[in-house]
């Protein structure tokens, strides 16, 4: 008996290929049954996310299996076999088990430690179980995978630390102001990253938005989009006195806010803290403004540095996770040896002491 996995992920196949293989939830049922009959699988689970499309199967033996499953992929995706040969990977146990545990823990994701995949694995398993394509082995294996993922998450720092400039900006804003509901954001300019950061802040509760732009029409358009208030460029200092969080991403070749303007604004706002996110290159805000009392000025390098630091932490945590995963794989293999074979599955009762973990 073998546990197999065959599939593609974001590292082996570009999105144009992955999208041909991807399966909508509504089609998973028929795909599972087709895979099971075509591949002569005893049990079958399919996982289809934006990062990967994978087929997990239990087979009596591995011979010729991978070819049959490759054929199955070819049939419904209509991709050519040579291409599939390039992008598909396959694992046999124990590596197939290790792979599943790693995927569920977020170690195989584009953003290491992301937590969406855990829910996706759970859902894929539940759909398969609902379709009747899981059995004794997968019912235990996928449960173990979810447990392993939970242990990795709680014991290592794998899912901690914001991993994008926008989410770092939000965390910083929350560290300075607490809940963002009663705080005003001023967005200057219309850079893409600026808008992305604004979106993150709005998602976390910010409601009051001021928009300023060289072109007033543009400001009005953006203000409408975000349910905010437009300001002319001349009103910038006024906006600075009102807002607590400033996002600046204009395309200007020089600074649009001088340190003395910021200082004047601080006086006007009675030194209430001011968080300035300057993601423009060249920078929009004179850097000496950052040394003023109660002004927190972060430029793109500062934010990127924090993102990098978090990424490095996650990679360290990934290394620590390996030990946990290895242990879990070993335990499952032991369980498999006493319970997973067709012979053992025929017994009415499990021998004492053979429960996994």
């Amino acid at each position: 008996m073998q546990i197999l996995v065959v599939g593609v992920n974001h590292q082996t196949a570009p999105v144009e290929v992955r999208e041909r293989l991807a399966l909508a939830k509504s089609r998973l049922g028929e795909a599972l049954h087709a895979a099971r009959s075509h591949g002569h699988l005893a049990e079958c689970v399919m996982l289809s996310t934006c990062n990967r499309v994978e087929l997990y199967g239990v087979v009596p033996e591995a011979d010729g299996q991978v070819e049959r499953l490759k054929d199955f992929f070819q049939r419904y995706s209509q991709l050519e076999l040579p291409l599939l040969d390039q992008v598909l990977y396959s694992f046999q146990q124990p590596n197939s088990i290790r792979h599943l545990f790693r995927v569920a823990s977020g170690l195989d994701s584009m953003v290491i430690g992301e937590s969406e995949v855990l829910g996706q694995v759970k859902e894929a398993y539940e759909i398969a179980r609902g379709q009747g394509t899981t059995g004794k082995v997968f019912n235990v294996l996928f449960q173990k995978a979810l447990n392993a993922a939970k242990e990795v998450r709680t014991q290592t720092g794998i899912n901690r630390g914001a991993t994008s400039v926008g989410s770092v900006a939000v965390r910083l804003a929350q560290k300075i102001f607490g809940p963002l509901q009663r705080h005003t954001i001023l967005i200057i300019g219309a850079g893409a990253m600026g808008e992305l950061t604004l979106r993150h802040l709005v998602k976390c509760g910010a409601e009051s938005i001021l928009v300023s732009n060289r072109s007033y029409d543009r400001a009005v358009a953006l203000a409408e989009q975000w349910g905010g208030q437009a300001m002319t460029f001349e009103q910038l200092e006024q906006g600075l006195a009102q807002a607590d969080i400033v996002i600046s991403s204009t395309g200007a070749p020089h600074a649009v806010l001088s340190a003395s303007q910021v200082q004047a604004a601080m006086r006007a706002r009675r030194k209430r803290p001011l968080f300035i996110i300057d993601i423009a290159v060249p920078r929009d805000v004179e850097s000496s403004a950052g040394s003023l009392d109660n002004v927190y000025l972060y430029n793109i390098d500062d934010l990127q540095g924090i993102v990098e630091g978090h990424r490095a932490q996650r990679e360290e945590a990934a290394a620590a996770s390996q030990a946990i995963i290895d242990r879990k794989v070993r335990l499952f293999m032991e369980w498999l040896a006493t319970n997973g074979t067709p012979l053992a599955a025929g017994h009415a009762r499990q021998p004492a002491g053979s429960r996994p973990d």
């Binding site: 300075i176 009675r270 030194k271 950052g290 972060y298």
Partner: protein, 151 residues
């Protein structure tokens, strides 16, 4: 339940010291977090520290409540001092130091309330203020003669 003036004085004084301690701790944590944010060196403590605004608010509330309780306690204490020491009530070291402490916290509180200074400066003053409290509690009797010898 009859609470006598001495008991009330003691209770209010201890309560105010507790409040000043909270002002002290929140002041320190504020300075730590503020420094990390300013210097962009987000250390291990960063994750656990509550937001700057919360520390600021806690500092403000604890100073205000502490100052209120301390003032009432001091008034009661003065009455008690006059009752037991007569004309020389101000010569008692602890009474004298307590007056100084009261003035210090009066200054701190008025600065806080007028909000012309925010954050860092008030945090520093909270720390200094509490040092004065500690001095009042423990150091006073070694320097000046006092009737509060039980402390």
């Amino acid at each position: 339940m009859a609470v006598n003036m001495l008991q009330l004085h003691i209770a209010l004084s201890i309560f105010s010291y507790g409040a000043f301690l909270i002002a002290f701790v929140s002041g320190i944590l504020f300075l730590v977090l503020e420094r990390q944010l300013k210097h962009k060196q987000l250390g291990r403590l960063f994750r656990w520290l509550p937001p700057l605004s919360l520390l600021d608010r806690l500092n403000y509330l604890s100073i205000t409540i502490g100052f209120g309780a301390f003032s009432i306690g001091l008034v009661l204490g003065t009455i008690l001092a006059v009752q037991s020491l007569g004309a020389h009530w101000l010569s008692d070291g602890k009474v004298w130091l307590s007056m100084v402490t009261w003035v210090a916290y009066a200054v701190l509180w008025s600065i806080r309330v007028s909000s012309s200074l925010r954050g860092r400066k008030v945090a520093i003053l909270s720390i200094l203020g509490f040092s004065l409290v500690l001095w009042t509690l423990f150091g006073g009797r070694y320097v000046l003669p006092t009737w509060h010898a039980y402390l």
